[in-house]
């Protein structure tokens, strides 16, 4: 693949031949992935394609069975979540991974508290407000338990948390899935701002519109393998769907054809 070869020279994070299996199930097989600084890479694929497993490998939650991970030119082993954070890989998980009994500030700084033996609540609260304002977050108060926040507000808190440690690469697992129209636009704006700041962004999404709006490259996974890599500006939805489902004749095209036929015949249900 020529695209990959050119990316290697400048890439911040690259994976080569990464395998991961859970018992007899090969969740990831020979995965290759490159992320350069200031680049948004979208990771798409059907359910069970291995996207979330790949995210967990990047976050240090799972360790790959084999393969190499290179970060900033150095081969690295991401042995646990704190190793990933120290390298500068921040992850926003699909399930957000927030502690519902703690308040917003506590969650933002969890594991990165200022002055561990005499917590500086004031400084943390001020920093939390600044961060949330940067993200144009609509959270009324940062001193309530996360349990009382809506899905979108929690998503914002999770993204804000990932930005705290000055990461170099940000991995977003379904960042817009739980969001309203305005918040989705905010998150997409945010992703572009992260990119302009020179961060590498890996974004997982099922929403093709979102993906094409902000991504530079689209990497398709299918059944735990790489199944194509596209330029987000030129690829058609049809090509993407074909790569995701593995065939040009798939449920999506069949449904579209059927809808077209019904529309022509004027036999729509009342």
């Amino acid at each position: 693949m020529t695209v990959t070869d050119t990316a290697t020279s400048t890439s911040l994070l690259s994976l080569r031949g990464v395998n991961k299996s859970f018992g007899a199930v090969n969740a990831l097989t020979d995965i290759e992935l490159d992320v350069a600084a200031g680049e948004v890479v979208a990771l798409v694929g059907d359910n069970g394609a291995g996207k979330s497993t790949l995210v967990k490998v990047l976050a240090g939650v799972h360790q790959p069975d084999s393969g190499t991970v290179t970060f900033a030119g150095e081969p690295v082993a991401i042995t646990d979540p704190s190793a990933a954070i120290q390298l500068g890989i921040a992850t926003v998980f699909q399930d957000l991974a927030l502690c519902e009994n703690l308040d917003v500030v506590d969650n933002l700084f969890l594991g990165r508290e200022l002055t561990p033996w005499r917590l500086d609540e004031t400084a943390m609260e001020v920093q939390a407000w600044k961060l949330l304002q940067q993200l144009s977050a609509r959270i009324p108060t940062v001193r309530i338990p996360v349990a009382s926040l809506s899905g979108g507000q929690r998503q914002t808190v999770a993204i804000a948390r990932s930005l705290l440690g000055q990461p170099k690469v940000i991995v977003l697992d379904e960042p817009t899935a739980a969001l309203g129209v305005a918040q989705t636009a905010e998150v997409l704006d945010l992703i572009e701002r992260l990119k302009d700041r020179g961060l590498g962004v890996v974004m997982i999404s099922h929403n093709m519109e979102d993906v094409r709006a902000v991504a530079d490259r689209i990497v398709v996974l299918r059944l735990g393998r790489n199944n194509g890599e596209f330029d987000a500006k030129t690829v058609t939805t049809q090509d993407l769907v074909a790569a995701i489902t593995g065939a040009s004749d798939n449920a999506v095209t069949r449904r579209r054809d059927r809808a077209g036929a019904e529309g022509d015949g004027g036999t729509e249900a009342p």
Binding site: L110, R112, E125, V126, R138, I144, S148
Partner: protein, 418 residues
């Protein structure tokens, strides 16, 4: 300054900018927000304070000796050992685990100190250090059993309960008990060491001043950072109330023998742990693990180490409590730490408002819960009722406390406060 406050102060503070927030400023605002959080199920220590008042009223009306200085001096001294054990229980409950063997560990520690210092002539301090080391080791074993082998702490500590009771019996040997000499430092500390009257009032003033200074400093820092600040009047009132409350309490006890040094040690430990729970990264991590273990792990915190330290602190405090219990009785014997010590310590933490479901609780719950249990025991003893009633009533109070915990938890869920 609050009297002339305008009805709607401009919401200029950084954390009060959102128009959806109710502006709870000043003294009335502090009360309002307190009442709102209680209604939402964030009851905190309110039920136990009410419960304590009810219990005291009932026993006082049945037997006027109950609230006498002499009885309160005894009551405070009797609370200390179980209270300190209960502090450790708060620690493991915060991470959502349990230690059922604190009674056995306390009995074992008393036996180690007694046998080594009396039968083998060890220096008592050396014996205490060794007992503490053994307790820490026990805590680490529970932690490793949980994190390495995935043994639920319920089962691990249940087997520990039996095993360490056996070890206690083995150490005590055929005689089955060791009497600590009355002139030993430990017994002196637990039985006859009282704070001089002037010092007890000084400590009350220091406590109030400490509350005020820390609150005032926090206020200044928040003001500087353009964050909302609480009512200054409320802070002054709380500090004055604390000085007055502690002062009157000390004065009342000083009518008799006074405030025991052991009580001061207990309260000091409560304050230290309260600081650790609320103002350190460790305390924050305990609560986070109790709330969502996986999220805590993913945020880079070494969850295993948090479990290990929680169990170690719990066993350590059980050991301290056990040594003090032995010193208070001037004896370590087969029944030390058995019977209801275990359940009293756990019940005290839960009655005080620490959740059995993990992630919620405070050091003060051990203090208040222990007072409830000690008050019941003392009141029933004064009424010449035997331990059957004590067990029944303590059991009922525990059931009520757990019910309150569960109901409050549901209420928090429906009010979105988790």
């Amino acid at each position: 300054m609050t009297v002339t406050q305008p009805p709607t102060p401009p919401p200029s503070a950084l954390d009060r900018a959102d128009e959806r927030l109710s502006q709870d400023d000043g003294f009335a605002g502090a009360l309002r927000s307190f009442w709102r959080s209680v209604k939402a199920g964030d009851v905190g220590v309110l039920p136990v304070v009410i419960g304590l008042l009810v219990i005291c009223t009932i026993f006082q009306s049945l037997n006027p000796i109950f609230l006498s200085s002499a009885n309160l001096v005894n009551l405070t001294l009797d609370s200390c050992a179980v209270g300190i054990i209960s502090l450790g229980i708060v620690c493991v409950l915060l991470v959502g685990e349990i230690d059922l063997s604190v009674g056995s560990v306390s009995g074992l520690s008393g036996a180690i100190v007694g046998v080594l210092s009396v039968r083998h002539g060890w220096n008592w301090m050396l014996a205490v250090v060794l007992a503490c080391a053994v307790a820490l080791l026990i805590g680490l074993i529970y932690g490793i059993a949980l994190t390495r082998f995935g043994m639920p702490s319920f089962v691990a500590s249940l087997s520990g309960l039996l095993a360490f009771l056996g070890l206690q019996l083995a150490i005590l040997g055929d005689q089955g008990s060791v009497n600590l000499p009355f002139d030993s430092a430990l017994v002196q500390f637990a039985q006859v060491a009282f704070v001089p009257a002037w010092l007890s009032y000084t400590l009350a003033v220091i406590a109030g001043a400490g509350l005020f200074v820390s609150g005032f400093e926090r206020r200044q820092r928040r003001k500087k950072a353009n964050l909302s600040v609480g009512s200054l009047n409320f802070l002054v009132l709380r500090s004055v109330a604390l000085v007055a409350g502690l002062g009157i309490f000390a004065w009342y006890l000083n009518q008799e023998r006074g405030v025991g040094w052991m009580v001061v040690l207990f309260v000091a430990l409560v304050l230290v742990l309260n600081y650790a729970f609320t103002r350190t990264k460790w305390g924050r991590s305990l609560r986070a693990v109790g709330g969502n273990e996986e999220a805590t792990r993913r945020s880079g915190i070494n969850v295993g180490r948090i479990y290990l330290t929680a169990f170690a602190v719990c066993s350590f405090l059980a050991c301290v409590g056990g040594i003090l219990a032995a010193a208070r009785l001037a004896s370590a014997n087969l029944s030390s730490g058995t019977g209801d010590v275990n359940l009293n310590a756990i019940a005290a933490a839960v009655i005080g408002g620490t959740s059995l479901f993990g992630g919620r609780g405070s050091a003060f719950s051990a203090l208040l819960g222990t007072l409830v249990i000690a008050a019941i025991a003392s009141g029933l003893t004064l009424l010449n009722l035997d331990s059957s009633y004590r067990f029944i009533i303590t059991g009922l109070v525990l059931a009520v406390a757990v019910a309150i915990d569960s109901v409050a938890r549901k209420s928090r869920a429906s009010h979105g406060r988790a």
